[in-house]
């Protein structure tokens, strides 16, 4: 469906994207995962036909995204990463405007999305919070019922409840046969919503994986705070993959042996149990055994 072919786009200063080659298949949810500054938005700008690539190209259904932009936009729903609207407009007025620009006749889907995201679209865009603007952007991308979605960091600014509403929407659209590409710097988000993920670092595609195999590779890290030093010693000797942080704190890495982990812990007095938030770079280190060149 979306074919990225040897796409190279270099900014003055040397950053950019280099020889990207991947395909988003019809009917799949494709996660485009990478840390900030890796080149996600640059790739999307090329898909949207906003910029001129130095080399390579992107096609959607065989149409060249830079040359046949207007034709491609007929079946694309796009959510920009940075939200900027026409700030002299009210929310609903903006949706009407974008709908008219799309030649959209039916407003039923739009209104149902407004209800679904519980957006009060009557107010001025200028006075909206970041979350409200994000909802407005999502509605604008989905309301004309396109076949392909290009979503740049779609959950930014949404609270956890609204993130779930959004994930439901993604699942529903996938069930309706839509093709979805969403970019994210959050591993769990991609894991929850996508079939496959392309991982980009420093402008190069590091891997394309089925999300299932990413899950298999993924381990969790827990920080266990114990009540006594003796328990600490025992936990370190328990056979789990552990690392001593201090007298009473132990880091435990759990891949698939969650049962063992819980059973072992039940023998001790715990003061606290925390899941350690892991950055994308950590996950990379685990999976690919190589470190990035300097981001974050």
């Amino acid at each position: 469906m979306i074919d990225v072919q040897q796409l190279t786009h270099v900014y003055p200063g040397g950053k950019g994207i280099f020889d990207l080659d991947f395909t988003v298949r019809e009917g799949e949810v494709f996660g485009y995962l990478g840390p900030n500054g890796a080149g996600k938005t640059t790739t999307i700008r090329n898909i949207m036909g906003f910029v001129n690539a130095r080399k390579g190209r992107v096609t959607i259904r065989g149409l060249d995204c830079r040359r046949d932009t207007a034709a491609v936009q007929k079946f694309i729903g796009y959510l920009p990463g940075e939200i900027a609207f026409f700030d002299n407009m009210k929310g609903l007025e903006f949706l009407k405007f974008v709908g008219d620009m799309h030649g959209m006749a039916n407003t039923r889907l739009r209104d149902s999305l407004i209800d679904r995201f519980e957006l009060d679209a009557s107010g001025s865009i200028r006075k909206m919070s970041k979350g409200m603007k994000q909802k407005l952007g999502i509605i604008a991308a989905f309301m004309h019922d396109p076949e392909v979605y290009i979503l740049d960091e779609p959950t930014g600014g949404l609270d956890p409840f609204m993130q779930n509403v959004f994930m439901d929407l993604i699942r529903q659209e996938k069930a309706r046969g839509k093709t979805i590409m969403l970019s994210s710097h959050i591993f769990d988000e991609v894991q929850r919503s996508c079939d496959r993920a392309g991982i980009i670092r420093d402008g190069r595609l590091a891997a394309i994986e089925d999300v299932k195999s990413l899950n298999a590779m993924k381990s969790r890290e827990f920080i266990v705070t114990l009540a006594t030093k003796k328990d600490t010693q025992n936990l370190l000797a328990s056979g789990l993959e552990t690392q001593k942080l201090d007298e009473k704190k132990v880091l435990v890495r759990v891949a698939r042996n969650f049962d063992d982990f819980i059973r072992t812990l039940s023998a001790y007095n715990l003061a606290n149990l925390d899941i350690r938030q892991r950055s994308l770079e950590d996950i990379f280190m685990n999976y690919y055994g190589k470190k990035g060149n300097g981001h974050e």
């Binding site: 036909g49 906003f50 207007a70 936009q73 900027a84 799309h102």
Partner: protein
């Protein structure tokens, strides 16, 4: 042309347009109101009382023997040249560069409209709104003249004078639009859109104020609004306007082409 976008641009810019019209209408009223057939001599005496260069800089040194001449001197020497910029410069920037700078252009290009169609619509809006501004001001000037000094205004002169002024402004619109289509940031677009007409204005004032700097009149479009030559009815006004409008069309075509070709970081 995209009607939806046209009306959205109208909605975003009508206050600016109306405000500029009110300022120009106010000056039309004041200057026309100041006309007094009895005291043309007194005005001349007053002008002579000021240092020579200073009044010349504003174009207030032409003999004004009738109402049309009076307007040509006091309105089209400075006021009608500078105040339409109040609309043209910000509107030119709003229509293209501001959308690119802020990122809202992504929403325009994310719809099934080609870049050429978007840019052409904005260009049509820009030209037609500027024409509406001048048309309204000219009409207002006529009504004002007829109500205060019935039968005094020489329509042929007045219309030719405005034709050349509008034609100069079409080129200034073209420059502002070209800047707006070329720059990624509002700052660059406004600096070029305001800076070039601003320089034209300063050159005109300097060339009029001092004999040594007279040569600067060749470096400014505003010296084409040459009131005595326009009133000669020699074909100067039509020829000049024709050339200016052709230049303006070229600028707009170039602007749209540049916008179509370039990369937009939105």
């Amino acid at each position: 042309m995209n009607k939806t976008l046209f009306f959205a641009s109208l909605k975003a810019n009508w206050k600016l347009l109306l405000g500029t019209f009110l300022v120009l209408a106010m000056y039309q009223s004041v200057i026309i109101g100041m006309y007094d057939p009895e005291s043309v001599e007194a005005m001349k005496a007053m002008i002579e009382a000021f240092p020579e260069g200073m009044m010349s800089a504003f174009g207030y040194d032409l003999p004004a023997n009738d109402l049309t001449g009076h307007m040509g001197t006091y309105l089209y020497g400075f006021l009608m040249l500078v105040f339409p910029l109040m609309y043209v410069v910000p509107a030119g920037n709003n229509l293209m560069a501001k959308h690119v700078d802020r990122g809202s252009m992504a929403y325009l290009l994310g719809t099934p409209n080609t870049r050429i169609r978007i840019a052409r619509t904005q260009a049509v809006f820009f030209v037609s709104s500027t024409l509406l501004l001048f048309f309204s001001v000219v009409l207002f000037g006529m009504l004002m003249s007829e109500s205060l000094f019935p039968g005094e205004l020489i329509y042929g002169d007045y219309l030719l004078l405005n034709l050349v002024t509008v034609a100069v402004y079409m080129v200034l619109c073209g420059i502002a639009f070209l800047a707006s289509c070329t720059f990624n940031e509002s700052r660059g677009s406004i600096m070029a859109g305001l800076g070039i007409p601003g320089a034209f204005l300063i050159f005109k004032m300097m060339s009029a104020a001092s004999d040594q700097l007279e040569g600067l009149k060749y470096a400014t479009l505003f010296s084409l609004i040459d009131v005595p030559r326009i009133f000669e009815h020699s074909g100067y006004a039509l020829l000049t306007s024709g050339i200016l409008i052709a230049v303006s069309v070229l600028l707009f075509v170039l602007a749209i082409r540049i916008f179509n070709k370039r990369g937009l970081n939105i």
